[in-house]
């Protein structure tokens, strides 16, 4: 495997975690978030700062990143999740813009210069700096995320979430506590995005606000919609497709974004439900239903 391919695979893995976590919010809780990159960024900064300032080892740094972003998700979700879809979209969009500006203006985050020299993870003396090992680490995190969401989605709680997505009032009538479910899923999704941020920070070893702006939020959203909302496999395919697509278009240089935008519109007209819409390619044989 070439170094370039490894690099893409690691980034693809990080995006898979992001897409799956956003898919929990969109595809399963039926809520719209336009600021997912904010949680990704918070995770990256928390992980980087704890390991730079307090010499936290990677697992601890990643854990604190997840806890902290989860806390942010909780703090944002509690007051806002009673808002309707479109309002939630704008609140999360605003949250993303604000977080981005906070990264840019705070002293501790290094402002526009960002943070450099983030140590690569090493566990028990084994450094994960070589890309093949880092890919392994990323894959472990992807598997963890996949397993967690898969178990969740196919549990009692997962069915409750789907009920909320399909018809909130009916779900309430059936005795599902819809606000707490929405807040819980938002918190979990934020924590997973924090994990992705931590993985990114310790892989690239240099972070600045540019990586976590609106552009990234939209990219993750596109991955979920292109792959197919409400499908875990869809989120994986969407994340991989949109990680690889710009690379494949690289030979067209200046026309790269132009083709990217046109393909996005064309794809949605061709398949509005996304590549793997609900239930198109299910992994039913893995579930115990």
């Amino acid at each position: 495997m070439s170094a370039y391919f490894l690099h893409l695979a690691i980034l693809g893995g990080i995006y898979i975690i992001l897409a799956i976590s956003l898919n929990l919010i969109i595809g399963y809780a039926g809520q719209v978030s336009l600021g997912h990159a904010a949680f990704y960024g918070i995770g990256a900064y928390v992980s980087a700062l704890t390991s730079l300032n307090w010499q936290f080892p990677f697992p601890l740094a990643a854990l604190s990143a997840m806890l902290f972003t989860g806390g942010c998700g909780l703090a944002l979700g509690l007051p806002t999740l009673r808002l309707k879809e479109d309002y939630l979209a704008i609140v999360t969009l605003g949250f993303g813009v604000i977080v981005d500006l906070v990264f840019l203006n705070l002293e501790i985050t290094g402002g526009p210069d960002g943070l450099a020299g983030i140590p690569p993870p090493s566990v028990l003396g084994l450094s994960f700096r070589p890309p093949p090992l880092y890919l392994l680490l990323t894959l472990l995190a992807v598997l963890f995320t996949l397993g967690l969401t898969y178990r969740l989605v196919h549990s009692y709680h997962g069915r409750a979430l789907k009920a909320i997505r399909d018809h909130e009032v009916t779900a309430q009538v059936m005795g599902i506590n819809t606000p707490s479910y929405k807040v819980a899923i938002f918190t979990l999704a934020a924590a997973l995005a924090g994990l992705a941020g931590s993985l990114y920070a310790h892989y690239i070893t240099f972070i600045n606000p540019e990586s976590f702006g609106l552009h990234t939020s939209i990219l993750i959203l596109c991955m979920v919609v292109v792959g197919g909302m409400g499908s875990i496999a869809g989120a994986v395919v969407g994340a991989l497709a949109l990680t690889m697509l710009p690379e494949m278009l690289r030979q067209f240089h200046a026309y790269q974004d132009l083709i990217y935008g046109a393909l996005l519109v064309g794809l949605l007209i061709w398949r509005p439900e996304g590549l793997l819409g609900r239930g198109k390619l299910s992994l039913k044989f893995l579930s115990r239903e």
């Binding site: 969109i26 719209v32 007051p79 806002t80 009673r82 808002l83 309707k84 879809e85 479109d86 309002y87 979209a89 704008i90 609140v91 969009l93 605003g94 949250f95 813009v97 604000i98 500006l101 906070v102 840019l104 203006n105 609106l214 939209i218 959203l221 596109c222 919609v225 292109v226 909302m229 200046a254 026309y255 790269q256 974004d257 132009l258 990217y260 935008g261 046109a262 393909l263 996005l264 519109v265 949605l268 007209i269 509005p272 439900e273």
Partner: protein
């Protein structure tokens, strides 16, 4: 100082309001957030600048040309990127709009290059003092023009057949269709008007900041979107009020709190307002 900031805020706010009108009308009729509105704004500015650059067109003609191009772009977008997706999950047209926005931005980048273009003609705007308040006549002209466009829109929507048909579609598309309203044509008309207003806003901002560039629509678009929601989405007076409020809040915030957080202030206020009044300041749909 305070009054000056207030005026700066009102000027920017009136432009946000113009774009917000496009958002709110399109949202009212289709329930769709047209993320490419900022690119329509950019298109209006570019066409006007190019027309003026030829040296053969006077300012008013170029202004009308920019608005017409923006309106046309809006109608084409509706036909190509949104109409085929009607009836699918609300997020799908949103992503399609984002795709269209990426496409248009990079098209502009290819055609015009990344650099700022100054506005080709210079205006000799003087500063007049009214009651001790220095008012640049440029700001006055922008405010007057923006308010004029808004007035025209309100009259159009309230008192003409087509305006009423648009409201009918916004209230209930199916019933409007049963009443003999050609819904597709009304949707196209909504895009036409909303985009023309955004185009006008783009031209005014190109004059105000003396810069036209491919990404110029991004932040004004986002802020106008917030303004539309702030005022109560689907409500025309709400969009106007929301735009003005946002402009003023941002200008005062930048002056008295921190200029580094200028863009954050607008969104922070938006979040706070939504928390306490989730339906927007003026509740309404299809007003």
């Amino acid at each position: 100082m305070f009054l000056q900031q207030l005026l700066n805020g009102l000027t920017a706010g009136s432009v946000y309001a113009l774009i917000a009108l496009g958002y709110t009308m399109i949202y009212g009729i289709l329930g769709l957030i047209n993320f490419a509105q900022g690119e329509i704004y950019m298109c209006g500015a570019f066409v006007a600048v190019l027309l003026l650059g030829t040296g053969q067109v006077n300012f008013y003609l170029a202004f009308a040309g920019g608005m017409a191009a923006a309106a046309l772009l809006g109608v084409v977008l509706e036909r190509v990127a949104f109409r085929p997706l009607r009836g699918s999950h609300p997020l799908v047209p949103l992503i399609s709009a984002i795709g269209a926005s990426i496409f248009l931005q990079s098209l502009a980048l290819l055609l015009f290059g990344p650099n700022d273009r100054p506005f080709p003609i210079q205006f000799n705007f003087s500063t007049i003092t009214i009651a001790g308040l220095p008012l640049s006549s440029l700001q006055g002209a922008i405010l007057a023009a923006a308010l004029g466009f808004m007035g025209l829109l309100v009259v159009f929507v309230r008192y003409t057949r087509y305006g009423k048909a648009i409201v009918a579609c916004a209230l209930d598309r199916d019933t409007a269709r049963l009443m003999g309203v050609n819904v597709d044509r009304m949707v196209a008309l909504t895009f036409f008007i909303g985009s023309a207003l955004s185009g006008a806003a783009g031209i005014m901002m190109a004059i105000y900041y003396n810069a036209t560039y491919p990404r110029m629509g991004l932040l004004p678009g986002l802020k106008a979107f917030s303004a539309a929601i702030l005022g109560g989405v689907g409500s025309i007076p709400g969009a106007i009020l929301g735009g003005l409020l946002l402009g003023v809040a941002e200008s005062l915030g930048a002056a008295y709190v921190s200029s580094g957080y200028k863009d954050a202030i607008a969104f922070a206020i938006l979040i706070l307002v939504l928390l306490f009044r989730p339906q927007g300041i003026l509740k309404g749909r299809g007003d």
